[in-house]
């Protein structure tokens, strides 16, 4: 499966019109983005903590080397793909709104009416 296809599939919107909770759509989307960022920051913090533990245990490198690290071209390319995955995740809500605008999902209330008797 192509990278782009995996990105698109990972962000598939659940069928069914999404409820709106907050004052307006932009506020709603900003909350979603903020929550995704909080998760990413947590993962990053934990990775840094793991790195520091490992480096300390093995006595391999110094903090200065970490601070001055320059990725090579292969690592740079890998990071670009990682960044695309990262943005795909954080901006999921906009991706799914785009999908919503292109379809005409029934709301759960409408489905509920149809499921009666």
């Amino acid at each position: 499966m192509e990278f782009a296809e995996k990105l698109a599939l990972a962000n598939t919107k659940a069928k069914g019109k999404r409820p709106e909770y907050l004052l307006d759509k932009q506020t709603e989307q900003t909350l979603s983005i903020t929550m995704a960022l909080a998760m990413e920051l947590h993962a990053a913090n934990e990775r840094v903590a793991s790195l520091e533990c490992l480096l300390e245990q093995k006595g391999i490198i110094t903090r200065d080397e970490l601070n001055n690290f320059q990725p090579d071209s292969e690592e740079t390319a890998k990071r670009s793909l990682d960044t695309q995955v990262y943005l795909n995740r954080i901006l999921r809500v906009l991706d799914q709104e785009k999908q919503a605008m292109a379809t005409n999902d029934e709301s759960v209330s409408e489905v509920l009416e149809k499921l009666k008797d």
């Binding site: 962000n11 598939t12 659940a14 069914g16 907050l22 947590h42 499921l115 008797d117």
Partner: protein, 393 residues
């Protein structure tokens, strides 16, 4: 959160588990903690908003308290704290699915090959291309799971099933145990304790998805023949492979629409089970499926279902919170199912409704690893203590 929560890493990594990198474990654990935080720290604020603001205003306007959960919902609709909790809770579900899918898709080739290898000769799975997915399953993607349980993105795909398997921990904070099968385990434990002489020879599990309920039942009754049915191909495929990976060989997974069980003879099962199934049905299918269960169940046999508790006799505010899933978690039938008169329903489907019983079945988990459910921060609709209702024919 007074105590440390189990890590997603504590799950038993059966053969089908995808490769999960440490960053993704961090994300899974973050979402688990966020769910617990919302249930334990934010949801109580919704109750305070109701009791201190919304309820007094309602009484002031109407001269009485709300008479049902619908009145509570309308009264709460504009409350900003509820809106924020709802929005965040909805997001955690969506984030869980996005994360699960991205993990699984990255390892899809490997997972698909493993599934094929484990299914092997295909003797424990029977698929049927003529089975259509009914409207009540396909209208919206239940519990915000993109693609529901049935969508396939490529040949032999199991993405939706695999994503469900690795993600359910996030929603239940691990309270379903190492294999996320605490419901089925609990049912087996309950049967052994309450009905030790009951040794079913043929068991039918309806709406089996990936076999979280059927596998522990097959393990509890190793001499029984277990048939597990669902309409969702990827889930059945994954379930058949997962059962084999766990060394369970007395289950056949079949693609059957529970509304048409003509392939099963009258009085041919001793035990018929469902787990978290009925709330994804609809009025018509609840009637036709239970009538079908009555037909295929032997006289003297048992049918038992695990669900979240019925709304009956619960305070209207709690009913309102329990009903959040109906409109907010893509569970259109959730509320109607939970307000149904179970005795009347069983009676209407040919059973002697007066024999119906309800009991609690506790998810059986290793408490040393996964801890115990904290009743003070119940995440309504996600509790590992399930209501079981059933009837002996």
């Amino acid at each position: 959160m007074a105590k440390a929560l189990p890590s997603w890493s504590a799950l038993e990594k059966h053969e089908l588990f995808p490769q999960v990198k440490s960053d993704d474990v961090s994300r899974l654990n973050f979402l688990t903690h966020l769910n617990m935080h919302l249930a334990g720290n934010v949801l109580p604020g919704v109750k305070i908003a109701y009791e201190n603001k919304v309820l007094p205003e309602f009484i002031n306007e109407h001269g009485r308290e709300p008479s049902d959960r619908h009145e509570v919902r309308v009264a709460m609709d504009d409350n900003s704290y509820l809106q924020m909790w709802s929005a965040m809770r909805r997001n955690t579900m969506e984030m869980r699915h996005q994360l699960g899918r991205s993990i699984v898709l990255n390892d899809s080739k490997n997972i698909t090959q493993k599934v094929k290898g484990l299914i092997g000769d295909g003797r424990n799975i029977k698929l049927d291309d003529d089975i259509a997915v009914p409207y009540n399953v396909s209208a919206v993607d239940v519990h915000c799971q993109p693609g529901c349980y049935y969508t396939e993105y490529f040949n032999d795909d199991v993405t939706v099933a695999s994503s469900y398997d690795i993600g359910i921990f996030v929603t239940t904070a691990g309270l379903l145990g190492g294999l996320s099968d605490g419901g089925g385990q609990g049912l087996g434990t309950w049967l052994a304790k309450e009905h030790p002489t009951f040794k079913p020879k043929r068991i039918l599990d309806i709406g089996c998805t990936i076999g979280h309920n059927a596998v522990p039942l097959a393990q509890a009754f190793p001499d029984a023949e277990v048939i597990a049915i669902d309409v969702a191909k990827p889930s059945l495929r994954y379930a058949a492979a997962r059962a084999k990976a766990l060394g369970v060989h007395n289950i056949t997974f079949m693609q059957v629409d529970a509304e048409n069980m003509a392939g099963f003879a009258d009085e041919s099962f001793d035990l018929v089970t469902t787990a978290m199934f009925w709330h994804e049905a609809c009025d018509r299918s609840m009637m036709s499926i239970l009538t079908g269960i009555n037909r295929v169940l032997k006289t003297g046999g048992l049918t038992i279902s695990l669900e979240q508790p019925q709304y009956t006799d619960k305070p209207v505010y709690e009913q309102f919170i329990r009903d959040w899933d109906t409109l907010n978690n893509n569970e259109p039938y959730w509320g109607r199912m939970h307000e149904r008169d179970l005795v009347q329903w069983h009676t209407d489907c040919g059973f002697d409704g007066s024999k119906m019983f309800e009991t609690g079945v506790v998810s059986k988990v290793d408490e040393n690893i996964f801890g115990k459910a904290d009743s003070n921060s119940e995440d309504f609709g996600r509790a590992p203590v399930w209501n079981a209702f059933g009837i002996w024919k």
